[in-house]
């Protein structure tokens, strides 16, 4: 491979790589605002100027291709002088309103100002004023004065979202960003511009002014919006999830996620209608009971139905571990063949970017662990309406809302046991309601549409969660035991992961298990389910692994 020298280091590079890319391979981070690894090169911020021997002028490292024998200096006197000059230029018209800016704490401009700027300005003139608080679309707010005109957002819309919705208008230091007349920034991926904006010019209307980012803890997880399984981070303060952001995974979602996933998959975690503690229906009303009481009630009820009279309904919203345990419960206690998960296909809701039509994050995982990919669900419900099946055990699904045509039949069931995160139409008519932990409160794995198994992790504490054993990440507020400390002061929900609840029921059934942690359970799964053989939580890691399965086999028995 050809080589160039960067700061005295010999660096091998692929032909076609630019200096900034070649430098990154050996950990030299050349400052940059407008350059983004997944967007075209615009070369406008000029902060990545470097000195190249034998070149008369400094060159921008984002656009200059590496060449054999090239000698680059990223910290020479000339380079530093230019970098400082550019930083000074960028800051002269910037409002420097970090104390009230949402970006503060994760702002590239702020970081570079500390790292690469002289710390004071020679600019004593009136700053250029521009529009502030402009709603560019339903989810994104724009502050023209903070904008440094790097054009990342414009390029993102055109190149990634495939919809040119933003443009520069005006010239010189009057340049600002706008949508086209009568149009909004409303593409399904619009909020990614708030992530890639290197300053606080584009902020999330949903999150802005909710928290300083340094007061949040970040936990790696997987988006629950569809079967793509975009890698995300859950940002938590005071035991509440306040926002989701995409996490880089080149094999899945690159740097992006859709607005739907970002906005609509976490609000139920903090919602008022969370189910808190196990409940039994007595005399027409629900009574909160202890877990042990709930377990014995469940097992004594379950024993009363023959294999033809009971069905178990798993879920693509539940983890591999949860569905595996449900299948185990069905087999052990009832021996029934009636076991399936609820399909959630929304035709036309997918695209060629990230979004898929399957709105569950783990239908493939549920199928691999014993569900039938939705093939028998209608049949089961038909038997329910014929009153041949008289008992249902449902995890993490709102059957009544999903199948309104069977609502009456479900109401007539002799036994309905439901695991649920939030109250819904099905929990209302259930006989036993078991509070299940949301995806933000448990460890587990999910298999995406491409057969990639990935991990979710707890970010929010429940009464059941163990801060140390579960490896929860800490925010600054937690560390110092402030009044926002999520362990000490927060209201915690009494909920447990579905797999753990079923372990409890099986234990009440007399089948004791040594398993206490999700990763131990996964060891058992890996031993019993061929698709997961040889895999454990460590090998899945942060980026997931692709399962060795026949990927052409559709989860739903038909091509997606």
């Amino acid at each position: 491979m050809p080589k160039l020298t960067i700061d005295g280091k010999e660096v091998e590079f692929q032909p076609g790589q630019t200096i900034i890319q070649a430098a990154a391979t050996v950990g030299i981070d050349i400052p940059h605002f407008c350059w983004h690894p997944k967007l075209s090169v615009s070369g406008n911020c000029r902060v990545c100027l470097v000195e190249i021997e034998k070149m008369p002028k400094l060159a921008i490292s984002c656009a200059t291709q590496a060449a054999e024998g090239m000698v680059v200096h990223t910290n020479s006197e000339k380079t530093l002088a230019a970098r400082k000059a550019v930083m000074e230029f960028i800051l002269i018209n910037h409002p420097l309103d970090c104390p009230v800016c949402d970006e503060a704490g994760e702002c590239k401009l702020q970081e570079y100002t500390y790292k690469h700027s002289i710390g004071e300005s020679r600019f004593t003139e009136e700053k250029q004023h521009k529009e502030k608080r402009v709603p560019l679309g339903p989810h994104v707010m724009f502050d023209g004065e903070r904008c440094i005109s790097c054009s990342r957002c414009i390029r993102f819309c055109t190149e990634v979202a495939g919809d040119t919705q933003l443009t520069f208008v005006q010239r010189g230091d009057r340049v600002t960003i706008n949508t086209f007349p009568g149009k909004e920034l409303d593409n399904p991926y619009s909020m990614n511009v708030t992530d890639i904006c290197p300053v606080g010019a584009l902020t999330s209307r949903d999150f802005r002014f909710n928290s300083r980012v340094w007061d949040l803890s970040a936990t790696n997880s997987i988006c629950q919006g569809c079967s793509k399984g975009c890698n995300i981070q859950l940002w938590v303060k005071a035991n509440k999830v306040l926002r989701l952001t995409p996490r880089h995974n080149q094999e899945v979602n690159s740097f992006w996620m859709c607005d739907e996933g970002r906005l609509n998959t976490f609000k139920n975690i903090n919602a008022e209608n969370r189910i808190n503690g196990p409940h039994l229906k007595r005399n027409g009303g629900f009574t909160r009971v202890s877990w042990d009481e709930a377990f014995s009630a469940a097992i004594s009820e379950l024993k009363g139905f023959s294999r033809e009279e009971i069905a178990y309904i798993g879920s693509g919203f539940a983890t591999v571990e949860d569905n595996y345990m449900l299948a185990k419960l069905a087999k052990t206690v009832s021996g029934t063949k009636y076991i399936d998960a609820v399909p959630h296909l929304v035709p036309g809701s997918g695209d060629a970017i990230l979004r898929t039509e399957d709105k569950t994050p783990n239908m493939l995982g549920a199928t691999l662990t014993g569900m039938q990919g939705g093939k028998s669900i209608e049949q089961i419900l038909q038997l329910v309406s014929e009153h041949k099946i008289r008992a249902l055990y449902v995890i993490d699904e709102d059957l009544v809302s999903n199948y309104p045509q069977f609502a009456e039949a479900i109401k007539k069931l002799d036994l309905l046991i439901v695991h649920a995160v939030n109250e819904n139409a099905t929990t209302q008519i259930a006989h036993i309601v078991l509070p299940s932990a949301s995806y933000a409160e448990k460890h587990g794995t999910m298999v995406n549409i491409d057969g990639r198994i990935q991990r979710i992790r707890p970010a929010v504490t429940t009464i059941d969660a163990d801060r140390t054993l579960d490896g929860l990440s800490l925010s600054r507020l937690d560390k110092f035991g402030t009044e926002y400390d999520r362990w000490g002061r927060s209201d915690k929900i009494d909920a447990r992961p579905t797999w753990k609840i079923i372990l409890g029921i099986l234990s009440a059934f007399g089948q004791r298990s040594k398993i206490t942690m999700a990763d131990e359970l996964f060891h058992e799964i890996a031993e019993n389910v061929p698709a997961f053989r040889g895999i454990n939580y460590d090998t899945i890691g942060e980026q997931g692994v692709v399962l060795n399965i026949n990927k052409t086999t559709s989860v739903y028995g038909e091509k997606l």
Binding site: G43, R122, E125, S149, G172, D173, V175
Partner: protein, 440 residues
């Protein structure tokens, strides 16, 4: 003295008059030559671009890839947006067919099937004149499919006139291409250069209007004839647009290497009121200004002006007499570049406004010594750090004005020091002390 670009022939804009004066003979001749031979002739003629950079035209053409499946394009830059520059419109008005003929020959030489003539947005009149001329040339079968019959050749090309929307930056070649493509007039990052990646990503050559108008006579009379005119390193005639404090402002076609003082005094009629000259900008507003006492002996060609500490630019000579307020002049120039900075890259976008704000304060008597140093520092921080040459265009006037007329600025920011401005004027009547002998 022979005039090449603007010959002294009445009604030459009329195609019949043009044909009667050997019009389209060069195209006829060129279309029988091989494209490489034409490029060779133009190279040997020594013709250099008249748009500002004075780059060898033949060499530029030879950068066009020979083997490519992509269409090739020619762009003719008639944006003429540099203040002090108003020569191309004379060609549009008085000799449009020679330009058209030059375009045809160039298209053939670089094997382009389409040429875009980009004309400055404010030139409504000249766009109309040029469109009329082009329509006539089409009607008479000199351009388009019909030219195959007219010239009895396999080659044909089309010429499209594209009117700009009034942005200075669109005179920069890559912005010009973006503008033609219907995009925002932002300069492109180079490399890649237009010959590799130009209009719609295809190989493109961009030449100035005056440059291309020189082509037919070179083909007709040969490179030996052309290269013998004026200065050998920058041969031919140059259209000098003389403006400012002269009695007869206008466009003068003179051999390269003509003395600047000759242009001003012999052709442009000298300075009104027979005043002394304080400052001359020799090549359009972005070129370094010369002091009055630097003018003697300066020849008007690229090499001589570079040696004198300036540049030929577009040949727009701006003359300022002894009563000119250069602080105000510089503030006005800075205002232009501030207004015209496209805003794409940081140093120019932010720096032009900063320089203007500083200069406005100095003009208003609110400046300080610190502001002058700061102004110079800002100019230096812009220079060389931008996407396109507008950075230099904005920085150079500031830098060189301060370098060559610093005492005028010093006097403005320190009113308590009553400095008699040093005599830095040139005069035909007497020679003053050169500035380097004057203690500041």
């Amino acid at each position: 003295m022979e005039r090449i670009v603007l010959p002294e022939i009445e009604n030459l804009h009329n195609i019949d008059v043009y044909i009667a004066n050997n019009g389209f003979a060069a195209a006829r001749k060129a279309l029988l030559m091989s494209p490489d031979d034409i490029i060779d002739v133009v190279k040997k003629s020594g013709l250099r671009g008249r748009g500002g950079a004075a780059f060898s035209t033949g060499l530029k053409w030879s950068f066009m890839p020979k083997s490519t499946d992509k269409p090739k394009y020619l762009c003719i830059n008639g944006d003429e947006s540099e203040p002090g520059s108003f020569k191309d419109r004379q060609i549009f008005e008085f000799n449009p067919h020679q330009l058209i003929e030059g375009i045809i020959i160039t298209c053939y030489a670089i094997q382009a099937k389409s040429a875009y003539l980009y004309i400055r947005g404010e030139y409504h009149k000249w766009v109309n004149l040029m469109e009329t001329a082009l329509e006539t040339a089409y009607a008479r079968g000199f351009v388009g499919e019909e030219m195959k019959k007219t010239f009895n050749t396999d080659f044909s090309c089309n010429i499209y006139i594209h009117k700009g929307a009034g942005a200075y930056i669109c005179g920069e070649e890559s912005s010009l291409m973006n503008s033609i493509e219907g995009k925002r007039g932002y300069p492109r990052v180079k490399p890649p250069f237009p010959a590799q990646n130009g209009l719609w990503g295809n190989p493109t050559t961009i030449n100035n209007v005056e440059t291309i108008t020189n082509i037919p006579p070179i083909i007709n009379k040969g490179w030996e004839w052309f290269s013998a005119i004026g200065e050998p390193k920058h041969p031919g005639t140059i259209l000098f647009g003389v403006s400012g404090h002269v009695n007869k402002p206008g466009v003068y076609e003179l051999p390269s290497g003509t003395l600047l003082t000759d242009v001003i005094y012999n052709y442009a009629g000298g300075v009104p009121g027979n005043k002394k000259i304080k400052c001359v900008i020799p090549g359009g507003s972005s070129m370094p200004p010369l002091r009055g006492d630097q003018l003697e002996g300066i020849k008007m060609d690229a090499e001589s002006l570079r040696a004198a500490g300036s540049a030929i630019g577009t040949g727009g000579i701006m003359v300022m007499d002894e009563d000119t307020d250069l602080v105000k002049v510089l503030a006005r120039i800075a205002k232009f570049y501030y207004h015209e900075s496209c805003g794409q890259c940081t140093p120019c976008r932010e720096g032009t406004g900063w320089m203007l704000k500083l200069l406005n304060r100095i003009v208003n008597g609110e400046g300080s010594q610190r502001d002058i140093d700061l102004l110079l520092s800002v100019a230096n921080n812009i220079e060389g750090n931008t996407v396109c040459a507008l950075g230099e265009a904005a920085a150079w006037p500031v830098k060189f004005m301060l370098m060559r007329f610093r005492d005028e600025f010093e006097a403005r920011v320190s009113p308590h020091i009553n400095l008699e401005p040093k005599n830095k004027v040139h005069s035909m009547r007497h020679t003053v002390n050169p500035i380097d002998k004057v203690e500041i």
